[in-house]
């Protein structure tokens, strides 16, 4: 039963990819895409119901269950949004049916790759899965084939490739460190074996390996000096892909990083991975917060906001300890839900107004009240205002840091406040400024956006005890 659910989250998207690549008719494929994403989500949820059991290639534990369920849930809601988004793109002729077929197949391939990366018990397999995820998103970012989209896809491709190349070097070094202890062959790359023997590994090799892994997977997380691909990829690709990139793919890369952090934490002689992550996290947060002020493109602005939040999350996990890890997990979940909701809104806004330029958007709450207020709610949430979910998680991150390293907490708060200012400055023009552009009602499906926002709003007041317990377990696991 266990193995069935586990292979299910891989099998459904894999079959979906082939089916969607073969079937004509974009309306049908869009629905099938939603169906496949829903089935994957349902299967992933059933992982909670049964006890876990891991093989030498696949693995289920408390940590990746959280990631899988979050990934498949946002994957499902994004597929609903994507269906209405794609409808409109076809109507205005920005995409042809052939490309839509390709797009849907790639969407499922991406879900497959992300799930594979999350359930992989073998660090080599995990690397291959993340490479596959990069490839599929590159193809989707470039799907409009405009000059800008191709440049963005190319930049993403080159930087992403360098990132995963560095990550592979780190993976090889981990194997080199494990080999004298575990012996040659497959088991020296199996995560569950590595973690039990990590304390005996050569600490110097582990140190160098972690630096490469941090730089490599950190590129995919979008950490500050390595983030250059992220805003372009978000801005030029189709909006559902921006939502999936921000909400999910960054998390998957972060998950890989966390796995290796756990390895290092078990070896007392190796460097502490925490301070490195804290530093990169703070730099990302501050840098992205400042960059928010000069944005003129709405999707690009929220891409920088994603860098800022990934910075906060990496910071929290870098601080470590049960409370900060809990806060990091909660923040990651809230950010995924909120940011994808924002991209759902932005996608429909950009379609209704025919532009992504902030200067040409204005008075959304007047011209498109539902979308406008949805966006306002999303931005209020992402900026971390009370009483919404992100306020909760940011508050936890900051307060847990204050108890240990007050100065770091001050820097973090400055970053969060600067970002808040930047976001509201732009939101003011977009939502409440003078109405601009077309006022025709948007053909939008509001359900995914408001579902996410509802979860985030409720999470500000009430988080189910079962979820708290689950997160606490994972936080302990992370060390």
């Amino acid at each position: 039963m266990m193995i069935d659910a586990l292979t299910g989250v891989l099998l459904i998207p894999a079959v979906g990819t082939m089916l969607l690549a073969a079937l004509p008719g974009y309306r049908l494929t869009a629905r099938l895409n939603v169906l496949a994403a829903f089935l994957t989500f349902a299967t992933a949820s059933s992982l909670f119901a049964v006890t876990s059991e891991s093989g030498s290639y696949l693995l289920v534990d408390d940590l990746n269950k959280v990631f899988i369920v979050l990934t498949t849930f946002v994957g499902f809601t994004t597929s609903v949004f994507s269906a209405s988004y794609i409808d409109h793109e076809i109507e205005i002729g920005r995409l042809t049916p052939v490309f839509v077929r390709f797009y849907h197949a790639m969407y499922q391939a991406l879900m497959f790759a992300m799930n594979l990366a999350l359930v992989a018990n073998n660090i080599g397999l995990m690397w291959v899965a993340i490479e596959l995820a990069t490839l599929t998103t590159v193809l989707m970012v470039g799907i409009y084939r405009t000059h800008e989209a191709l440049e963005a896809a190319w930049k993403y491709f080159i930087l992403g490739s360098v990132g995963i190349a560095l990550a592979l070097f780190g993976t090889i070094l981990i194997y080199m460190a494990a080999r004298p202890v575990i012996g040659e062959g497959l088991s020296a790359m199996v995560w569950t074996v590595l973690i039990t023997r990590a304390s005996q590994f050569d600490p110097a090799l582990l140190n160098v390996a972690f630096v490469f892994l941090l730089l490599g997977y950190g590129t995919k997380v979008g950490l500050a000096p390595l983030h250059a691909w992220l805003p372009d990829a978000h801005a030029e690709g189709p909006t559902p892909i921006s939502a999936v990139l921000s909400g999910l793919l960054l998390n998957v890369a972060l998950y890989a990083l966390l796995r290796f952090k756990m390895l290092l934490a078990l070896n007392p002689a190796a460097i502490a991975p925490g301070p490195l992550m804290v530093t990169l996290g703070l730099i990302s947060c501050l840098f992205a917060a400042l960059m928010l002020y000069r944005r003129r493109d709405i999707k690009r602005m929220f891409a920088y906001s994603s860098i800022e939040h990934m910075g906060i999350i990496v910071f929290a996990f870098g601080m470590g300890g049960p409370l900060a890890n809990f806060a990091g997990l909660l923040h990651m979940t809230m950010h995924s839900l909120t940011k994808s909701a924002i991209f759902f809104a932005v996608g429909h806004v950009a379609q209704a107004k025919g532009t992504q330029k902030i200067a040409d958007l204005g008075g959304l709450t007047v011209t498109h009240p539902v979308l406008g207020w949805g966006l306002v709610l999303g931005v209020v949430a992402i900026a971390g205002l009370p009483p919404l979910g992100i306020f909760m998680s940011e508050f936890l991150v900051v307060s847990s840091t204050f108890a240990r390293e007050p100065w770091l907490a001050v820097i973090l708060v400055v970053g969060i406040l600067v970002a808040l200012g930047g976001l509201f400055l732009r939101l003011n023009t977009i939502a409440f400024g003078e109405p601009r552009g077309p006022t025709a009602p948007a053909q939008a499906s509001y359900l995914p956006m408001f579902a996410h926002l509802a979860i985030v709003s409720v999470a500000g007041f009430y988080i189910p005890p079962a979820l708290v317990l689950g997160f606490e377990n994972v936080a302990k696991l992370l060390g």
């Binding site: 490479e131 440049e151 190319w154 491709f157 080159i158 080199m176 690009r300 992504q356």
Partner: protein, 220 residues
Amino acid sequence: MRGITFDVAHLLAGSLVLVSFMQLYQDRLYALLNVFALHALVLAASVAWQAFIQNAPHLYVTAAIALVFKAIIIPIALHRIIVRLGIHREIETVVGIGPAMLLGMGLVALSMVVMLRVTAEADPLAREDLAFALSVVLLGLLMMVTRRNAVSQVVGFMSLENGLVLAATGAKGMPLVVEISVAFSVLIAFIVIGIFLFRIRERFDSVDLQALERFRGERQ
């Protein structure tokens, strides 16, 4: 461990670093492609030698991929792309050859210092291989940042990847090496097809400042 097997492996890995240096100072694309083919050839020999001394027949597959795909097919494909794009006469001078070589030497010294120090307990062949592999990786990165032309960036990426394959084969008994080299070949094939289909000449540095601004999406 010592003796002729060690010396040959050492020689081949060292030659790979040397060929990486040769790539750094090629300023014509054709010449660069020829040197890259040599790079892949040396890699294939090195991997085949590792397969022989480790008694690991699956590594011959990796060697064959390096030989057929990277030393023959890719250079020929890129050759044709260069002709089609009409950039075969172009000469690149981004960073001068002198500074690039000096930087390269610094990187090799860095990787020797880092790798030989941290792998003091590993067996000598593996640690030297790893040090050479890191040098090749870093030289590939250096090439990617000093070149503007998309084709030479791809060549830089591929030589970086050759360094990774060298590291993976040097790590004795590492599983999934063949799978990883196949995955990389797919990646490279995509890149090359991408260049060809979309006629990408340069990444994001363009002499045309207006194009740059438009690309950044920030101009109103």
